[in-house]
Every structure is written in C-alpha cells, then in structure tokens.
C-alpha cells in the first residue's frame, strides 16, 4: 500500500530539515527562552527568599524593639526605685545628722550651762566666803573691842582645843 510505504525523498528532506531545526531552534530559540525563564525563576525565588528574610528580620527587629522597650521600662523603674531609696536614705541620713547635731548642740549647751553654773556657783561661793570673812571680821571687831572679851575668847578656844 502506498500509504505505508515511506518515500525516500520525504525521508531525506524530513531528516535534513528536522536535524537543522533542532540545532537552529536550540541555538536561537530554546537557549535564550529557557535561559530567560530560568533567570526569572531564580530571580523570583531569590525575591521570595529575601522577602522571607526581610519578614524574619522585621520580626526580629520588632522583638528587639520590644526587648529594648522592656529594658528601658525596667531601667526607668530601677532608676525610680533607686531614686526613691536614695531620697529616703538621704532624708534618713539628714534626719540622723540633724538629730545628732542637735544632740551635740544640746550636749554642748548643757555642758556650757553646767560650766557656767559651776563658775557662777564658784563665784557665788567666793563672794559668800569673802562676804562671810568680812562679816566675821566686822563681828570680831565688834566683839573684841574690850580685853575681857578677848580673854574669854582665848579661853574658850583653849577649851575647845582641850576637848579635841
């Protein structure tokens, strides 16, 4: 049957044309097309990957921010706390210093007062002594105006000595 008998001419032309076609298309069509498709595919893949990376980074950044915020808040709290304790301490210290100073002042004042009192007492004593001596002198003078009184006196003194 003619239908299933391959013709030599057509075999020749088909082989030639198909062979050339493979090479021509491979060089001028398939290579650039597949190359472009591949380049684009890898570009898309890269873009997706970098987007993913960016998202991760963003997440990290956000976490960092939160951490930072948390830390800042903690620090603020710490500082506040410290300040409060410092204030309290300062106040306590001041109070203590003030009270000790006051004590000291009071003590000094007391001492001064005691000292002054002693001095005053000593002076009073001295004045009382000199006053007494003066008064004794005046009394003696008055009493010992006559000689009998003087003798009686001596006698009494002698008696006193005897008694001793």
């Amino acid at each position: 049957m003619d239908l299933v008998t391959p013709g030599l001419g057509l075999i020749f032309w088909t082989s030639l044309v198909f062979f050339l076609l493979i090479f021509l298309l491979a060089k001028f069509a398939w290579k650039p097309i597949l190359g472009a498709v591949k380049t684009r595919e890898s570009a898309i893949e890269d873009a997706l990957k970098s987007a993913e990376r960016a998202r991760d980074e963003m997440k990290n950044l956000q976490a960092d921010n939160e951490n930072l915020l948390k830390r800042a808040r903690e620090e603020r709290d710490n500082i506040l706390k410290e300040a409060r304790t410092m204030k309290e301490k300062t106040i306590a210290e001041a109070k203590e210093a003030a009270s000790s100073e006051a004590d000291k002042i009071i003590a000094a004042a007391k001492e001064q007062i005691a000292h002054e009192k002693m001095a005053a007492i000593t002076e009073l004593k001295n004045q009382v002594a000199s006053l007494s001596i003066e008064m004794a002198e005046k009394v003696l003078r008055a009493e010992l105006k006559d000689a009998s009184a003087q003798t009686e006196m001596v006698e009494r003194l002698v008696d006193d000595v005897k008694l001793n």
Binding site: G9, F18, L25, I33, A36
Partner: protein, 404 residues
C-alpha cells in the same frame, strides 16, 4: 494507546474497501444501493489486496472521465488528499468544451537520475497523474503516475499512458525523487514558522531581559515550560533532563505545528505531513537514536541480562527486550501516522458523503459532523504531539536511569 492505533488502522483499511464499493455501485448505476449491501458484495468479490482494489478504482475513474457521467470515487478522492503531491491543487475549472482543468500551484521537481540532478516545475506534467503526459527535460522523459515520477516508456500503452504495468503498478524505472513536494513544502513552512515564532519569542527575552512575558512570549512560554517540566523533568529526572529539553521541545512543537497546518483545508495548509509514514518514521528514528545513544550501562543490562530474574529466564527476556528496543519507536511512528491520517480520512469521508449520495441535503448532517471532527482533531493535534514527546521522554528516562 497501541490498541487505538490498531483500531484506526482497521478503520482506515475498511474505508479503503468501502469506498471501492461505492465506485462499483455507481458503475452499475445504482446510486441508491444501500451501503451494507454494497460492502458485502464487494467484500466477497474483492477479497484480494488493497492494491488491486485501488487500481480498479483508478481505472474506473479514468473511464468515467471519458464517459458522459463522471462517477465520484471517494477512495481516489481520499487517497489523493492524504497522499503527497507534486503540486498544491486549488480547484477545478471547466472550459467551454467541457474539459476539466485543475488550477494548482506548481512545485519544483528535483530528480536525481543517472545523468545527475534534474530540476523543473511540476507544471511540466500539465496536472496529469495518469502517466499520459510526458515531461521532457534535458533529454530525459518523465511521467507522473499518482504522484510518483517514473522514466517514461517510448510508446504509450492501451490507456494512452507511457508505462509498462504489472498488477496495476508501473514497472518503469524511477529516478530518486527529491522534489519539493506538497509535504516537503509544508515541512519547510513548519520549520520557517517555528523559527519565526520561537525566534521572536527569544528576541523578546533578549530585548527585555528576564521579565514577565508579553504578547507571543506569554503564549509560548507556558508551553515551553510545560514541555520542560511536565514532559522532560518528570520523566527523565532532575539529573539528566536538561540536555534533552531542546530535542523534546523541537519534537513537540514540530509535530503540533504540522498537525495544525494539516487541519487547514486550503493552501498553505492541507498537506498531510504528520500523517505521512516517512515523516513519522524519521521522527521515530530520531527518538530511537537519541534513546539508544544515551543508553547507560543499566539500560543495556536490563535489555540483555535482566537482573532479579532467574538465570534461565534471562535469555528469553533478552530477546523480548531487544525486540522492544525497535518496537517502541515503531509504535511511535505508527501511532502518529495512524491518528493523523485517520482524522483526515474521517473529515474527507464525511464531506465525501455529500458527493456519494449526490445531494446537498446531506450537508446538513455532514457539515456539523465535520465541524465536530475538526474540533476533535484540534485536540488530537496537540494530544499526539504531547504523547510523542512524552513517550520519547519516557524512553530517554529509562535509558539514562541509574539504579543503585
């Protein structure tokens, strides 16, 4: 798949016999004879080979041409349409004397004879395909008998044709016919179209870089990627597929474009390129060579000394596998040929019905059916290209596969 090809080949041969029946029916001037009766009648009478039946039909056609009433011979019509030709037949005209003249585009005839290359236009045969018009070129005489070119005999035979015949076939010497026939023309056209379409697709990327495709590129790129990923990568494997992609792409698009061009019923389409056994044979041979030249150790091991089966069975398997090396591309050749030819025959038969029954009313049935079949053929065109490329990829995959 194999089953389908066999079925189509059967359909094809049935149509061959059946149409002879119609020719005989009209010879007896019984246009209304029922189909089944005639087939039965002819099947009994012409239970010999198709060649004889064909020749009879032709002889009858010749007679009818000289008679008053021209009988329609669907066998000749179909065979003429699916066979290769030395010209592009456009239409027939009838002059004032009632002679029928074909209007066709002549194609160059290139013959390699003992005296070297001979070239002339097919118009030198004056549309004759019965061998009754001798073309004299450079001192050599040629005739065209059903699209085949022979050296002409000195004297005409009883039918006025310049050839000796035996069993209805000319026995004259044939020069090596390297003509640009209808199929070769279509072949070149397909090659040209492929280069233009994919050349400009490639140019798009060269000009714009690896950007998102636009226009033609956006249409072609998914197909290219489909062949690369779904045909090549899936069947050959990640490791080896890349170097076979250009071959598979060329194969797929060549077959697809040829199939589509064959569906166009007028110039520059209409040639039955992928329904020609020579073309499918060459394509299958390419697959055969690509597969076997790339066969790895494991591939040959599996053919000649199948591991994992008893030693006694291995020689038997080796024979089976060795035959398989050839039957695989052979099946590829037949499948494409039979599918495309069957499609053409179906369309031609449906159109032919109008002329067999000699009634315009039949077109009410023929036209929708033809439309349906043609639409189906559009699908088949892509499907067969896909199957050919897919199976080729599968065979390559088996050849380059390495077992560990």
């Amino acid at each position: 798949m194999q089953q389908k090809s066999v079925l189509l080949t059967l359909t094809l041969s049935f149509l061959g016999y059946g149409s002879t029946a119609f020719a005989n029916g009209s010879e007896h001037e019984h246009a209304t004879t029922s189909h089944e009766d005639t087939v039965q009648h002819v099947a009994d009478e012409h239970a010999h080979d198709a060649h004889a039946a064909h020749a009879e039909g032709d002889a009858h056609g010749e007679e009818a041409a000289h008679g008053e009433e021209e009988a329609f011979d669907i066998n000749e019509m179909i065979m003429h349409h699916i066979a290769d030709s030395h010209s592009f037949h456009l239409w027939d005209t009838e002059d004032e004397h009632g002679h029928v003249h074909a209007v066709s585009i002549p194609l160059p005839v290139i013959l390699y004879t003992e005296d070297g290359l001979v070239m002339f236009m097919s118009s030198a045969f004056h549309h004759d395909e019965t061998g009754s018009h001798v073309a004299e070129v450079g001192g050599q005489r040629f005739i065209n008998v059903h699209g085949k070119i022979y050296h002409a005999s000195e004297e005409a035979n009883a039918h006025g044709a310049y050839y000796e015949e035996h069993d209805g076939h000319p026995t004259n010497a044939m020069p090596l016919d390297l003509s640009i026939t209808k199929n070769v023309f279509t072949l070149l056209l397909v090659a040209f179209l492929l280069l233009v379409v994919f050349g400009s697709t490639a140019r798009f990327y060269k000009k714009n870089g690896a950007v998102a495709p636009k226009g033609l590129a956006s249409f072609m790129e998914p197909l290219v990627v489909f062949v690369r990923d779904d045909i090549a990568k899936d069947n050959i494997g990640e490791k080896h597929y890349e170097r076979f992609v250009p071959f598979l792409l060329t194969l797929f698009f060549f077959i697809w474009f040829s199939n589509l061009l064959g569906l166009i019923p007028f110039f520059p389409g209409s040639a039955n390129l992928t329904g020609n056994i020579a073309v499918t044979m060459v394509l299958a041979l390419f697959t055969f060579f690509v597969v076997n030249f790339n066969g790895k150790k494991d591939y040959w091991m599996h053919i000649f000394w199948m591991p994992g089966v008893p030693y006694a069975v291995r020689p038997i398997l080796a024979i089976v596998e060795f035959v398989g090396v050839f039957t695989k591309p052979f099946a590829l050749m037949l499948r494409l040929f039979a599918n495309i030819t069957a499609g053409h025959i179906l369309v031609l038969s449906l159109i032919g019905l109008i002329f067999i029954l000699n009634s315009v009313a039949v077109s009410a049935l023929s036209v929708p059916l033809t439309l349906f079949i043609s639409t189906l053929e559009l699908l088949v065109a892509a499907l067969q290209a896909y199957i050919f490329a897919l199976l080729t990829a599968l065979f390559i995959g088996a050849a380059v596969e390495e077992h560990h």
